[in-house]
Symmetry: C2
Subunit: 317 residues, 2 copies
């Protein structure tokens, strides 16, 4: 039986093996993903994002417990900041969410951020696909940070919760403005801290300026203390309310098409670069370019035009 | 006279125009960059990175003033988190560093983070190239966040300062571990806050575990209060000390080659995707793929293999 077939039967160890194969870039993993693809699309994806120190991991842990109480199977994809040199995840799967480690209805996977040319959002899509095929009802994607890739990853989610925390500095104001557009629900975590009410009020004011309307979703600001479990049930209900709105609204169709297009394009981009690297390796082309650039005899813009014309002959006007 | 020639003569307005053309993706901008390329490589690049709320902007402002006292021309590239929808920079150039706005020796440029398929690190390289050609002695690249792109951007810098701040949460511990490898200098800013000494001590301990050696650079932990200007001169001296070490060490050669290779590959990746988009647009190929994926009749992995085989016929085994 293929790995894909085992995953579709709910075999957790097969899913873990397949994810490892995807990480290692084994060609066979692509064949398995091809088999899985037609059988996916059932899981509901929740994105949890916000600045470092906001307590996102604890919140994800509590949300997982809350969905488990409702008999939902929960997959968690945690994107960790990592050493650009070792490439290893800092917060390993083992030390995360210990209390769910014996629960077969919870599947946790940490993804390391990669070097320049590996697509993090693509890895996330692939891992979510495997969890979906495995039968997870809910997939929670947690990203630390506010960078470009993190925003891209959040676009994969049906419902995005932006987690803020009272008392961070000025940059947060800027992030708030940037993050207003991507949040379906705003969470002020560590709500027992000084300034929590003010942070919640500021967020509400900024959201109000966007002119709430009846025919679209109007995000709420919720307060939680994830550490103590306060406000989690309310947050879970609000997530489900957003899901109901989303599934019944006309936007789901466009959302799904855009998501599929991004997935296709990210695989396309990775694959083209991979093929180009193989092609250039044959003739030590890349070495020569870099040497020429170092001597200021070659500029990279002209070099790219030349090699692209050679590799993609049918695509040049 | 071409824009490139005007930039090389130090024309600030021409540089601003060229950067706008780069942003807008005008083909002519590439021709100008080709002309500039051979005349660059003189600027020294300093990266300033760290979590939101660490006071990086204020620190950059102070460093700029400090280098100006030494008669150095300073370019600043600030990467702002932005709305994924509007694409506009939140902290505009205008509201940043007002006190330098009349100084011809300072050139400030905010870069917006872009959507999924625009390369932020490539834009940064291109903008830094223009500043270099314009005659800036020092280029400071400031990134908010700790994401993957931010790490990539930091790799462009000769000297990287990682800015921490006392009293952020648990996630910071993880980020610290990940960020240890990329910092040449560590700065505990807001050093008047409670916990500053402890944060500095923790960082020093983690750095000590890496076994300092005489033949390589051993990062120090500095304390600053950027708001009041405390510790800035010391930081500037330490940056220059790292520069002297770096330029005289054997690693500069490899560093420059790697940087050039990344620059070439990021242009290559963007260009290939652009050509592929144009190619697919002719036949509404992308639309068809997305429709097929939505109907679960096509998987994206097979679709990519097929289109890549068509577009890059010489690169397939």
């Amino acid at each position: 039986m293929s790995l894909a077939e085992q995953v579709l039967e709910g075999n957790i160890r097969a899913a873990a093996r397949l994810m490892r194969d995807i990480d290692d870039g084994r060609p066979q993993a692509i064949e398995e993903l091809k088999q899985l693809y037609p059988r996916t699309g059932k899981a509901y994806i929740i994105g949890i994002t916000g600045p470092p120190g906001a307590g996102k991991s604890t919140l994800v842990d509590q949300l997982t417990a809350s969905f488990r109480k409702q008999e939902k199977k929960v997959g968690v994809v945690a994107i960790d900041p990592t050493s650009p040199f070792t490439g290893g995840a800092i917060l390993g799967d083992r030390i995360r969410m210990n209390r769910h480690s014996c629960d077969e209805g919870v599947f946790i996977r940490s993804l390391a951020t990669r070097g320049s040319l590996g697509g993090l959002s693509r890895s996330t899509s692939d891992v979510a696909l495997v969890m979906d095929a495995l039968g997870m009802d809910i997939i929670i994607i947690e990203t630390v940070g506010v960078g470009q890739d993190e925003v891209d990853i959040v676009k994969e989610a049906h419902t995005t919760c932006v987690v803020m925390v009272p008392g961070l500095g000025d940059d947060i104001q800027a992030i708030k403005a940037g993050i207003l557009e991507i949040g379906d629900i705003f969470v002020v975590n560590k709500a027992d801290r000084e300034g929590a009410d003010r942070t919640a009020r500021e967020l509400s004011t900024m959201l109000d300026m966007r002119h709430p309307a009846e025919d679209r979703w109007n995000p709420k600001v919720m307060k939680t203390e994830a550490q103590r479990g306060t406000g989690i049930d309310e947050l879970t209900s609000e997530i489900l309310a957003h899901r109901d709105f989303f599934l019944s609204s006309g936007t789901i169709h466009d959302f799904m098409r855009q998501r599929k297009q991004r997935h296709f394009l990210s695989i396309l981009r990775d694959t083209m670069l991979e093929k180009a690297m193989q092609y250039m390796a044959k003739s030590n082309y890349l070495e020569g370019i870099v040497t020429g650039m170092s001597a200021h005899e070659i500029d990279p813009y002209s070099a790219v035009e030349e090699i692209v014309a050679t590799m993609m002959p049918g695509c040049i006007d």
